[in-house]
Each structure stands twice: as C-alpha cells, then as structure tokens.
Amino acid sequence: MPDFLLQTVFNASYAASYMALIAVGLVLIFGVMGVINFAHGELYMAGAYAIVFFYAWQGLPFVMAVGLGLLFAGCLGILMELALFRPLRTNPLGGLIASIGFLLILQTLAVLGFGLRNQNIPPVSQGRLTVGGAFLTYERLYVIIATVVLLAALWLFLRRSRFGWALRACAQDREAAALQGISINQTARYAMFIGAALAGVAGAMTAPLVAPSPFMGHGVIVTAFIIIIVGGIGSLEGAVVAAVLYAFVHTFVTTFFDGVIANIVGLLLMLAVLVVKPQGLFGVRERA
C-alpha cells in the first residue's frame, strides 16, 4: 500500500509540473494583456511537434530540440501578439475569438504537415528511479526538474530584472505603467513570448511520453482554465499551487475511481472556489 501511494504521488508530481508550466504561461498572458488565450493548448501542441520534427525526424539532440521548441512556440506567441492581440487590445472578447481562429489554423497546419495519427517518438532515456516498489522514469523526472528550474528562473526574472518589474507593473495597472514610461507593446511582447514558450517547453518535454496528435491541446486547455481559476486569475504563485493541488486530487481520484469522476471532481472544485472565494485561493481583489 505505501508503494502504491508513493507511485500515485510520483504520477501526480509529474502531472502537476507540466500543468504548472502551461497554467503559469496562461496567467502571465492574461495578467499583462487581459486576454484569454484559447490557443494556449495549441502552443503546447506546437512545442510537442517541434520534438517530432527536430528530434524524431532530424535526429538532433533532445535538449537542443527542446530549445528549438521553446523558441518556436515563443515566436508563435509574438506573432499572435502582433497580428491579433495588439489590434484587438480594446476588445477582450474579440481577442478570445481571434485566438480561437488561430487555434484552428495551428491545428490544421499540424494535420497537413504531420497527419492525423499520433506520432511515436523514440524514448529519450530508458532508465528509471526506483524507490521501494514505486518508480519514476527518468523522462518524467526530467519534466519535473525542467519545471522547477524554469519556474525559479521566471520568478527571479519577474522579481529582480527591470523587464520583470515592467511586466508586473503592466499586470497591476496598464495605464499607470504607461505613464511611468513603460512600453506596453514591448511588455506585451515579452509576456506573450514567455507565456507561449513555457507552453512550448511543456509540450516538448512531455512529447516522448504522450505521442503527440494535432488535437492534444484540447484536454490541456480545460485543465489549465480550472487551475488558473482555483489559483486566482492573475496570480502566478496561485497557479503553481493550484496545479499541484489539482494534479494530486485528479490523480488520486483517477486511481481510486475513474477518469470521468476525476474530471467531475476537478470541475466541482473550481465551482466551489468560484462560489465561495471567486478571486481564487491566492488572487487579489478583481480589478474594476
């Protein structure tokens, strides 16, 4: 039984880490630009397909392929900012619809370029960590390590660098930030790059484990929304804590009951948070 519990904890930690990467990116984009990026799951998909192309087909080293996946997803993010979110800045619902249009384009491009079937990727590492009767494959361990490293780097960037300050200032109050001489366009570009790149890394790191398909973003985006609501919209720390909470609840309920019940429990958790504490577990009061 303890082995079984430990195994579930390992599984939950893996799920928590890549979901945290995706949710943090989504929160960052929402915080700075005030737009809900519905295509965030497709940026995750783009990262995974970068691994298919660069690692499985071209034979580049895995780490380099992950780096290229990060850049690729980040550039897609910048493209979205320039082409869609900037002209629609005064129209948040329009931004949402435009991101749905972008999502359809990315999905179709993935179908055209790679076909509908799931892609098989040669394993990066066969080894695994064994603790008692439970084990954690190195591939999953790498995802957890990458998440911790990236989120720590992001935290330092936001707290210590000038760009980080500008970003947080924009998230708090866009007009006031502009009055202090912060370029909103530039800040939005940074936020979009970082948010998209985090989703891309999550996709790239998990690609060998999930067999990418053009529609893999769907399930992810719903989970990411639950996480950012539970954590509080606009709160990066909240998103991380909520990702861990959600992943543990979901993994344990899946293990003891089944996947659909786990989804229902996750949604009930979100609904309860919305009714009792709509600003989320870590959120600040909603901006007027």
């Binding site: 082409a83 619809i97 435009a98 384009i105 019940i261 229902i264 609904l271 919305l274 009714v275 909603e286």
Partner: protein, 337 residues
Amino acid sequence: MPDKTNIDAAGMIGILILAAALIVAPHVVSFSQQELLVLLTINVLVVTSYRLQTLTGEWSLAHVVMMGSGAYASALCSKSFGFPVPLAMITGAIVAGLIAALMSFPLFRMKGFYFLIGSFAAGEILRLIWKRFTNPFGGPKGIQRIPGFPEIDLGFMRIDFYDPANYYYLVLLVVLASLWVLYRIEKSRIGLTFHAIHWQDKLSESVGVDAFRYRMLAFVIAAFFAGLAGALYAHYLSTVNPNQFDVNTMVYVLIWTIVGGTSRWYGPILGVVALTIIDEVILRAIGADQVRPLLYGVVLILAILFLPNGLESLVMRASDALRRYRGEVPPGAIVRE
C-alpha cells in the same frame, strides 16, 4: 430603439421575397444540403436564444449543454416513458429551463469572466454525468434509436417527417414562432429591464429592479428555447451523445454570435447563416476538405479584425445609406445647420 417598426412597401416586398425563399429553399438544394438546411434552421434558434441570454451582459458557456438537456430529456421521455414526440419535445424544453433555474443559484453569484468560466464548469459537470452514467443516459455512446416525429395524415396527403424537406418545414414553423416570442420578450418591459441591467446594473438595482431575478429569467428563457432546439435536433438525428454538446460546439455558437453581432436581433442569425454557407458550401465546393478549418480560422480572424461590431454593422450602414439616398435623416445622425 423604436418600439414599433413601420413596414413600408419596400419592406413588405423584402419580407415576401424572404418568405418565398424560405419555402422554396429545400426544393432547390441537394439532399445533403437539405439535411444541412434543417440543422442550420435549428442553429438559428440556438444563437437567437443565446443572444437573449447575453442581453443581461453575462455570457454563458453552458448554452449548448442546455440544448443537450432538452435533447436528452426529450429522447428519454419519448423512448423510455412512451411520451408522444411533440409532448416529449416540450417536456425537454421545460426540463432545460428547470435545470437552468437550479444552476442560477450558484452561477449568478458570479459576474463577467467568473460567470463565463463558472457556467462552463456547471455545464461540463452535467455533460460528464451523461457520459459517466450508462443508465439512463447511455454513457459515451448516448441514446440511439430515438423515435422520429410521427407522420401526419391529412386525409388527402400524408406528411412523413423522415423526409428532411418536410422536417425542415416543421422546424421552420417552430423556429419562426420561437423567434417571434423571443422578439416580443426583448421589446417588452422585461427585455428593456435586461438591457438596463446590462448597462447600469447598480442604477437599475437602486430603482428596485431585482437583478438576480432578471438574470435568472433571461437564463431560463434562453435555456427553454435551447432545449427546444435540442429536442428538434434529437428527434431528427435519432441519436444523442455527450460529444455533440461539448465545448467545441459551444465555441461555434459563440463564434456565430460574435461574428454576427449582438446589438440587433438579426445579428446572430446573419452570423450563423453566413458562416455556415461559407464553411459548408463555398469551402466544400473548393474541395480541399482538410484545409477547411484553416480557412474558417482565417475568416474568423478577418471578421473580428475588420468587422468588430459584427456583420450586422454592414446592414446598419447599408440601411443608413439607403435612408440618406432617399433624403431622410438616419436615426441618431447629427444634423448640422
């Protein structure tokens, strides 16, 4: 917004042409397009009822699930409890309205973005319950072999509703009646209160309007008509399953509504008709079936970038230009002396 619309001769001719087009439509298109026509007519009711819900300023993501509630309730009533189909359809619509009334209590504690997400969660829970519980909802496969609409024997002719053209006329009748009711509701005191809550909720509450009750009312009425649309859908396709009512379908309803525009009653109808024709007729005619979602995405982005107020803004501009051409002053125009 004028309370009474005066229809002049040109308007009358327009209405007659539209009526003729609606009646002739199923006989000038192919069989597969007849099926499409039925679904399009049902979707017109879906988007128009959705617009009524958005009048209070809250955007629900549970609308398609409400449609599903009507479909499931109607299917179960007719298949398991042996209700006659027309009665089952009305029961379906009422059940959808009741579910919406129950959901209102947690949901309307939220506003804006929180309501959007909360309604999504509540709807998705309901949908997952259909998916999880095989008895009575049939699980992921849903309910099959739902009885169709009974044929009507008029003595001199029998109307068989398995023929899509005949079912289209039935749907058209129900949808037109529903549109008229929805239009009257919007123009009534209740509808004006919805608008008041949207633009000035604090102010309207200060003069004694119970915003919660009106938001709930809009939600329930919209769910009733969505449920009716779902019932029409279920007895036509003779099968319902949880995937028909997932967030993808909701996204399409949202797209149709926003691309069409929501400030006039005809906006969402323009959206659903135009986008369906672009997607199913023009893009299909070009061939390239795989590229269709991509082109749809491009159309969507272009529409939102260049027509932010929806397709209805084109109609408004055209009618203003027409008035100016006739030498009348368009309403709301600034007259310079």
